[in-house]
Amino acid sequence: MIRFAAASKSYRVDGALVPALEPVDLVIERGEVFGIIGHSGAGKSTMLRLINLLERPTAGRIFVEGNDVTDATGGELRRLRGGIGMIFQHFNLLSSRTVADNVAFPLRIQGNVSDGEITARVDELLELVGLTAHARKYPAQLSGGQKQRVGIARALASRPSILLCDEATSALDPQTTASVLELLGDINRRLGLTIVLITHEMDVIRRVCDRVAVLDAGRVVEMGAVADVFLHPQHPTTRRFVAEADHREGHGPEFSGVAGRLFRLSFRGEATYSPVLSNVVRDTGVEYNLLSGRVDRIKDTPYGQLTLAMNGERLDDALAQIRNAGVDIEEVAR
């Protein structure tokens, strides 16, 4: 468990204090995948680094696994960091060491693990990330996705309870991103690891996160379960992120020639696969025109979101029937 208690961070720039992160209060539960999304400069990188104290809070406290770690130094700080793995956008591997030596590195600097244990642990980790065949290669000989897998293996070496991901997929192509995210999800399920990731892509949040916090100009402007935030974004910044993920920026005008009222229907779980609309049409005789739609998954939950124009005398009955089937409806202003 990680807790931010009114934690904030300011930097001194030319003698003046510039806030990077306004006071944050939030709890990240053990075993969850928690996403922090924001544009560059929104403070998400600072927020992530407060957890392992690569950045110290200017005010407020940080708790990790129930302990106030805010002022940890020396051995206490090293123990804290030993329990928190971290992966990076640019991987940050040691170019002068082989894949196996990179993975062994955190164990070697701890100094209390025997060579035999290190070798066994490295083999086990390389198998977990699917890089056994590349153990003797140097990072420069690997692809981006492989480098990030080395990063993940290294981050897991000291059996941490928390994994911090700093834009871990931002330098990867879409296919590699998908496989790295799958690996992270797998690790979360199998090892029960708490994962905190920062990103500027809502799609990354949608695929792996349980909950999300949206950061804007150093402030948490929205937070909640990913499905809620994704299907019903409240803050303008969140809406923009969701729109980017749906590739539906600037859709408004093209509905102008369509008759009827516009509605956005959001399905989740079971409702996604039941024939709600055709039942409604049969029972009430309303007509609908499908304008845009998407059926996908939020982590493991299927969801759908459709934008419809609806027409008919029994429209209100139709809307009630849709609601009763467990589908959310919002009317879209035109």
Binding site: G82, M86, F88, H90, L93, S158
Partner: protein
């Protein structure tokens, strides 16, 4: 007359041999102590610079000034100025031992700057990752910075070694001998062009060997 005597009528080859040995001794000795002093000094400069692991801007300013002063004094002047220091350290102010002290004091600050530059080339992200793993500063220096910067450090040591070859030529001032002294003494002052030719050719060969050795090591340790 043998062809060697025809080509180089003035040369005493035994003397050339001794000069080679003197130059190599001066070079080897001064390079060793230059690295022993210059490497830690360079690490210290790197760590104390603004924004680095142990940022101490005032200490950095002082170190930096000392390094710059030593680097800006012409070597020949440094050598004369340092005579009392040399005598205090080695007991003598002449000969090979007398030359090594000023050579080291002239070259160590030069190497320190090259070390500092090489360490700055190490990706900050790699240092941050090591900190995130709980590495101490000394672990970061010995296990991250030095291995990651190894090609740059070797290149810096090579440049320093070549510069030292040039400096040793001035060793003659304090009677340390060597190829440079021979070139000056016989070749220039004694109007014996064959001496000049042979000693300079040998210095060129030495520099070539040092440079290609350095380049080979740099390639071997480059993993990027």
């Amino acid at each position: 007359m043998s062809p060697m005597q025809t080509l180089f009528p003035n040369i005493d080859w035994a003397e050339i041999g001794q000069a080679c040995i003197d130059t190599l001794l001066m070079l080897g000795g001064s390079l060793l102590f230059t690295v022993v002093l210059g490497l830690p000094l360079g690490i210290w400069l790197f760590l104390t610079a603004r924004g680095q692991l142990h940022a101490k801007p005032k200490l950095y300013g002082v170190l930096s000034l000392v390094v710059n002063v030593l680097r800006s004094v012409p070597f020949i002047i440094l050598m004369i100025l340092l005579i009392p220091v040399t005598k205090a350290i080695t007991g003598v102010s002449i000969g090979i031992r007398g030359a090594i002290v000023p050579l080291v004091i002239g070259a160590a600050p030069f190497l320190a700057r090259l070390v500092e530059t090489a360490l700055r080339e190490v990706d900050r992200g790699v240092i941050e990752a090591s900190q995130a793993m709980g590495a101490t500063t000394s672990q970061i220096v010995t296990r991250v910075l030095l291995p990651e910067a190894r090609p740059g450090l070797i290149a810096g040591a090579t440049v320093t070694a070549v510069a030292l070859v040039g400096y040793t030529a001035m060793g003659g001032i304090v009677g340390a001998g060597g190829l440079g002294a021979l070139a000056y003494q016989y070749g220039y002052n004694g109007y014996k062009p064959d001496y000049m030719l042979v000693t300079v050719a040998l210095l060129v060969v030495l520099v070539q060997i040092l440079q290609s050795l350095g380049d080979r090591l740099v390639t071997r340790y480059s993993r990027r």
